[in-house]
Symmetry: C2
Subunit: 715 residues, 2 copies
């Protein structure tokens, strides 16, 4: 489900940004890099050293999943420590006494991963031993990830600090939706992302398998679905089972989605007889909302769905099945006289009611096959039975309303990672915010949330960089106590997490340099790296508006190399903030700011030379000019500030006008640093007038005057 | 086959390094970046622009392989140009007239890729159209790679220069041997390397499937082989067929190797009854040569081999099969009284003769199954039938001797890429050197060569960086005319090729940064990047001697991040060379040299801080100190030179002693820049005495005095 209007998650964000204190449950101990932060964590004196004899024993339950998990854990520990460690899990009682890490699982957990799984664990580490206890193997998995995150080192070697952790998730449904339909993603992409999900304690892969642009799962009953609807890019049932097993081994459920009655073009290529218009149909290559929809008035359609969903119900063991249900605009229904006659005959007053009729029919089919139905917001019509789970793209208010009416729900509004919003914005979205008016019973119906990776503009080369590391912060929102919400600390831990995720084969960090090298045709990419570090793709749905492409277009441009939530821009803004707080001396961070700005100014001409020879970069020409100008403007402002001299109004006006021009996206990329440069310009100009204010007053004045909408004062 | 003595390929190298002129067959046109250089290439005036309407038509033969190749070609072209291009291959005559690129294949080529395949093609490009003609689809494949390498760009956009190319390989056997036994490599590693092989026109994947350390292919007849011999890491027969088909689609043969009678421990884990000692056996975890060998005196062994090799002969369609045959030291044979008795009875005088007996028996089995036998040098015993192909690890002389005696042969001596030699060393090795005394008929028996990737010290994370880009230079040696041997130009083109290979998913460029980030635990890796850019893993078999590990050890250390043939070191040495040629002013490149040396000096202390917190880097501590000292020494020498002042003898002695210490490997890494720094020190000291010499004399004197073995003069 695509939320095509501006998402209303700015409000919670503002609260979060103003919170600076954080209760992590930790004692007065050094900062940790745990993500998600455990429900309760108490650091102690001492440390367990991790050396070549580090070994693991089990006391109590063991099974194949536990053993495999321990093996993977040891390989990652070896990778980080560059030490060969003893293999395997010891299982006799005398071993446990001497082991470095003792695991006590009470039982295996559910046969099929379930939303009711107990994922809790406790981890006690002292000088001699670490003890991980959990009621299920899944709890052990979660605890082992925490243990790996605790690993630290110094001159003495590797160690884990002494600590007492008592952890359990806040929400039982913590998902990542992968749209593999608009751009197919091979098995290795799914696997490495499942590994990453486990690393941040996510537990649901919502597998969006069908779309206008592709039908990605093999149907043995109706093979024309995947044969004609996928360009040959689909998962065999054997591969689907492989993914399900891989996920289950990591305590992750797989909830498949078969989007209907809209978003159905790819179904209709092989089966036009199911459509509401006669066809023929071809696989959709564009982005947007399209008309093709299943015909809800024909019994053959339900017979087909009974066959197909029955086949899928047997393939996917999870007890939930997602039927989409979103964005059917009903144009084909309006245009079809038979459908109109059917509605008249049955007294179905409008398309919403017709879709409700369709949903009830599909619900009956799913119940027959033992599945709980889930669908996007639109399925919530007055007569919907409340055994159905609502997947909300409309927001927490809609979700709360559903909960009040007795529906279980999962939130995705606020977690649309394809929209390129900064991490703190997702982090500030809470499925049950502090000011929620829900009763505890109602609140319990809010099962959790899902980050949604819609795949119009991602390929196997770039998808990881759209999911990670931001999704780790969403995972924390869904696992950790509501009170864990210090944004600055989140960003600090996120940077560590981002690198840790690489050991799982993720490419979010390393592929940027590769994309730039290809664009530069093997030439030096240093100035390009400077540029790309301070631009971000435009937000929401503006990429397509500003730089239209199709599902067949190469996604190898500068916008594809650029990443959401620029670290360099955030660092720059915080340095500017510190500099302005240091009025009237303006010395704090002046040196690194000057270096950064000089680098931008110098990169401009170097980029011009590179761009001349690399036509794939021609669209970046205005960005190179902007970057140089941002550097020059910033350097001039810095110079005025450090000399305590105010520039003439003409300078300010010219610079602000140039900043307005630079703030306009080019090649669907924008500079998140322009507001900070604007602050420097305003501060330089306003020095004399603001000289007598306190630091806080001064900063607030500059911020106010720098707001992009503000007209220059006194004009 | 491991060549455990110093390889004798230094002599040809010296010739190559002294050749500076190069005949590429090109006209007086700008430098190209083709690799391998075509047999004949003539650039012309004009260019074919490559824009959004670029399209391809076929005139004459088409087939599924050709279509799939064109699709892959278009995806890569789109990736580089960031343009969506028309899909598919047009096939009617009117299309061909208007097409940007016309393909004329005369026929499909052989059903199974063969050493007799015709891979030739011609490519004519003018302002209006490119025409690619070839007798087979494989020739088209080769030509399309050349076309992609010709792609260039400027302010006007992308284009291919007008050119006339007539190309064919010098040798028909151009291979890469992958040892997937010591470290298993998943399918995706094989596939991306097959793509890279095709990009540099290699045509044989020699798949080294069995070893003491692992038995990697499923046997349905004898399942204990892979079940007990592989830790579960083996290729199913379905996967093997997938690899064979993937290779064939790229015009690449797959020659499997089942190493026997030695290197056989992993066979014997499941089948100890085949061994020359009673067993039991366990999978070998060490590196080296081991005793377990098949028992050549027992008929059951040949019955078993008949079954197994028959099964493999049906699985692998190539007409060659490699039986290894190397490094059997015969200790188990000596110790087994039954074997000794058998030898006495049959009049077999020694272990060589016994292995000959074994080889003749295996040869008969392979012939029965329709395969030509191939084996390492050792199999060449006096009574070997000359239908067998000799795979030479001993060198060109041994290969020539075999050719004279009527054997076909393939060279790998000189192409042992696991030994971390610099590229120019491999590039200088010619299977039939210019001074070869072979008659044309004998020379034709030298089929070509194979780069050998033995896998003791590589994982899926690092293997690409050991293969690429160096193997592209070996591919050129085997494809291009003998006269193409300008080392400097090779390095220039190799750098371009290295980046181009990344589009195929190879990780040789991008994984280094990832390995460093893991080692640094998420901290800033800038000083570590400086260090790693100027160190190389020690050569030959010294890694294991200096830093012993097993097949189970993590390969995530600094040595694994370091790459062979440091670009930075080569650039530094050439800048020092230019500086010394600029005597007595010493101004050429003084600025970049000073910057580089300053960076080294400053990185030292920064590294110390990083190392303190990253125990995985503790072994790098002496390297950090060395790096800082190399920087300081170089800066001081530069300063003496630029001032025209000679340092005191004490300075020189202290600095040379420090350089001697820095030249000693630490953590199995060494600084290839020490000789250049030594030259700077000597030059600084010798300034007054050498002042009256010519530039050439002066440089030669400094080089002579700087040779590491040389004692300081006059002591």
């Amino acid at each position: 489900m695509r939320a095509r209007t501006c998402l209303p998650f700015l409000l919670p964000l503002l609260c979060v940004l103003n919170v600076s204190a954080q209760n992590t449950g930790a004692g007065a101990t050094p900062r940790h890099s745990l993500m998600p932060v455990p429900a309760s964590v108490q650091f102690k004196d001492g440390r367990l050293s991790v050396g070549k004899s580090f070994n693991i024993a089990a006391r109590g339950h063991t099974d194949a999943r536990l053993r495999a998990t321990v093996e993977r854990f040891l390989r990652r520990l070896e990778g980080r420590t560059v030490m060969e460690l003893p293999r395997g899990l010891r299982t006799d009682a005398t071993d446990a006494g001497a082991a470095s890490l003792v695991i006590e699982a009470a039982g295996p957990g559910r046969d099929v991963p379930s939303v009711e799984e107990d994922e809790s664990y406790t981890l006690e580490v002292n000088d001699r031993q670490a003890t991980l206890k959990a009621p299920t193997t899944v709890g052990v998995l979660r605890g082992l990830e925490t243990f790996l995150q605790l690993l630290d080192g110094d001159r003495e070697g590797f160690y884990v600090p002494a600590v007492s952790i008592n952890d359990r998730p806040r929400f039982p449904w913590r998902g990542l939706m992968l749209d593999v339909a608009r751009h197919y993603q091979p098995l290795e992409v799914l696997k490495r992302n499942l590994d990453a999900m486990a690393a941040v304690k996510l537990n649901v892969l919502h597998w969006h398998l069908t779309e206008d642009q592709g039908f990605r799962i093999e149907s043995k009953k109706f093979p024309k679905l995947h044969q004609l609807g996928s360009d040959g890019q689909f998962y065999t049932q054997e591969q689907a089972r492989e993914v399900i097993a891989y996920a289950a081994a990591r305590g992750i459920r797989v909830v498949p989605e078969f989007d209907m009655p809209g978003h159905a073009t790819a179904w209709l290529v092989g089966h036009p007889e199911l459509g509401s218009a006669p066809g023929p149909y071809t696989i959709e290559r564009g982005a947007g909302i399209f008309e093709p929809a299943l015909d809800p008035t024909r019994e053959e359609v339900y017979k087909f769905l009974d066959g197909f969903l029955g086949e899928m119900a047997a393939l996917f063991p999870d007890s939930y099945m997602h039927i989409g249900g979103d964005e059917n605009e009903g144009k084909q229904w309006n245009a079809n006289p038979k459908i109109q006659a059917f509605m008249k005959e049955k007294g179905i007053k409008d398309n919403h009611a017709l879709q409700s009729y369709f949903n009830r029919r599909v619900l009956a089919i799913l119940k027959k096959h033992g599945k709980t139905m889930m669908g996007w917001d639109e399925i919530l019509q007055p007569d919907l039975p409340n055994e159905v789970v609502i997947h909300s793209w409309r927001g927490t208010a809609a979700l709360a309303e559903a909960a009040r009416r007795g529906y279980k729900g999962v939130l995705s509004n606020g977690y649309y990672i394809d929209l390129i919003f900064p991490t703190h914005q997702h982090y500030g979205t809470d499925p049950v915010p502090a000011d929620s008016a829900l009763t505890p019973e109602e609140a319990a119906r809010v099962l959790g949330g899902e980050a949604t990776m819609w795949s119009e503009w991602v390929t196997p080369e770039t998808i990881d960089s759209r999911i990670w590391p931001r999704t780790a912060a969403i995972a924390e929102r869904l696992w950790s106590p509501r009170e864990v919400r210090d944004v600055e600390d989140m960003y600090r831990r996120l940077a560590v997490m981002s690198v840790r995720l690489e050991e799982l084969g993720l490419t979010h960090e390393k592929n940027q340099a590769m994309l730039l090298r290809r664009l530069a045709g093997g030439r030096d990419t240093a100035p390009l790296q400077t540029l790309v570090s301070v631009v971000e793709p435009v937000k929401e749905y503006r990429r397509y508006q500003q730089r239209p492409q199709t599902m067949l277009s190469p996604l190898t441009g500068l916008i594809d190399a650029a990443r959401p939530d620029s670290d360099a821009a955030r660092r720059f803004a915080s340095q500017v903030d510190a500099l302005l707080s240091d009025a009237p001396r303006f010395e704090a961070h002046a040196m690194p700011l000057r270096n950064t700005l000089t680098q931008w100014r110098n990169a401009g001409p170097e980029l011009e030379v590179l761009i001349d020879r690399s036509p794939g970069l021609h669209e970046a020409r205005p960005l190179a000019k902007d970057l140089a100008e941002l550097g020059t403007t910033g350097l001039e402002a810095l110079s005025y500030l450090s000399r305590g001299v105010a520039p003439p109004a003409e300078w300010r006006d010219a610079r602000l006008a140039a900043l307005d021009a630079a703030a306009k996206p080019k090649a669907a990329l924008e500079f998140p640093v322009t507001p900070a440069i604007r602050q420097l310009v305003i501060a330089a100009y306003e020095q004399p007038r603001l000289g007598r204010l306190t630091a806080a007053e001064w900063k607030s004045q500059v911020k106010q005057l720098s707001a992009p909408a503000a007209k220059p004062p006194g004009r």
